[in-house]
Chain length 248, copies 2
Amino acid sequence: MKTILVTGANRGIGLAFVRLLARYEPTPAFIFATCRSPDTAKELQDLAATHTHVRILKIDVQNESTYGPAVEAVSSLVGENGLNVLINNAGVFPKDGYEKVTREYLTSIFEINIIGPIRITQAFLPLLKRGARNSKIERFSIERAAVINMASKMGSISLNTSGGAAGSRESKAALNMFTRSLSIELKTDKILVVSQCPGWVSTLNGGPDAPKTPEISVSEMLQIFALYSEEHTGCYLDNQIPLTFSQY
Amino acid sequence: MKTILVTGANRGIGLAFVRLLARYEPTPAFIFATCRSPDTAKELQDLAATHTHVRILKIDVQNESTYGPAVEAVSSLVGENGLNVLINNAGVFPKDGYEKVTREYLTSIFEINIIGPIRITQAFLPLLKRGARNSKIERFSIERAAVINMASKMGSISLNTSGGAAGSRESKAALNMFTRSLSIELKTDKILVVSQCPGWVSTLNGGPDAPKTPEISVSEMLQIFALYSEEHTGCYLDNQIPLTFSQY
């Protein structure tokens, strides 16, 4: 992983990714931490101040005009190395039931959790393909190129026995489908595409009762990433070692 | 099935539902055929002219201001009988790959295929609950109350081996999740919620090479509907007898 981009990096799991990647060995060339409001992302600013390979970029998932400048900034820094890893982490998971949700509420969830990841991946795909093409690694590997979509157990249809979270569950099921379809399109490029469940984490989405801190979850996921191989592309993985396929 | 509402009824599978239900035995009290433009829905107008229990109503899935008047019209006609069956049939399935789709394209697919069905179901839920409550049928049955979402094999993540159809596949996976979640919320009301695959049908979405006409598909589905019981609620069914659960 020479170059990595993480969306929604100002808090929770995204911020933990940047924190842990900043001291990852071997040291990445660049960690691009994107968020809606770089100006107020204090923790990211502190990290970037002490780690020159951490770069903060503005991406507002719901505002496509922010995508182009971010792609250009990444492109000019990474050059022929391209981008190795895109972590589609930005997401929401409100939990209202079907009786009360409005169209605006549902639209916002689908924009952030599925349309955004599709469009952001599309925007960075030329850089990911460059990353794969110019990598010395010939096999499917996180070291070559990968798109990692942050999944959720709540996005498993077959495991859904409690309902609720209108729109949130649907958008995460849709994200798993995106993982599957995109993995097929990117097989010839040997770019991994995986839906990765972070476990139940004490973030804004997971709530304070969750058993894992973002740092523990991300520390586990970084170990999991290193084990990804061809058999995992297109799949939805639990946060366990040995790697475990989750049910759709 | 005393009272049935079908969305997207001006063509394809929706129109075939109205045609076959118009001569269904026992004769339903009302078949509500909804579409975007009743004024230009010639086939529906012809059907309504000869079958007084066929009523055409305007619902534009993407325009919520059309929902309220349709709910009121249905409510005033069905009275205490309520609504027995809501068929969320309106849908699109464009087949472009990830490289070319725009945000507008994706937004439109999610609005029509998943946000629309959620919001339309929400709008008609009081009438469906009334239909269930005032039914003489005490068990889960199409004769009591049901929400039927038109699913697609292309919406199965585990069966997806060819990719493509960006947004369309994702939206249908999301629809299966909606079926599952809503079925849980409506279990105490004994309202069935099913994702039903119509098979591969020669419609605008299915294309001319499909082996089934809309009439054949709908004729099969009406036989399948009659077999729905408690074990099928929340499930995704193939278009086969005996009833076969499809994979998510």
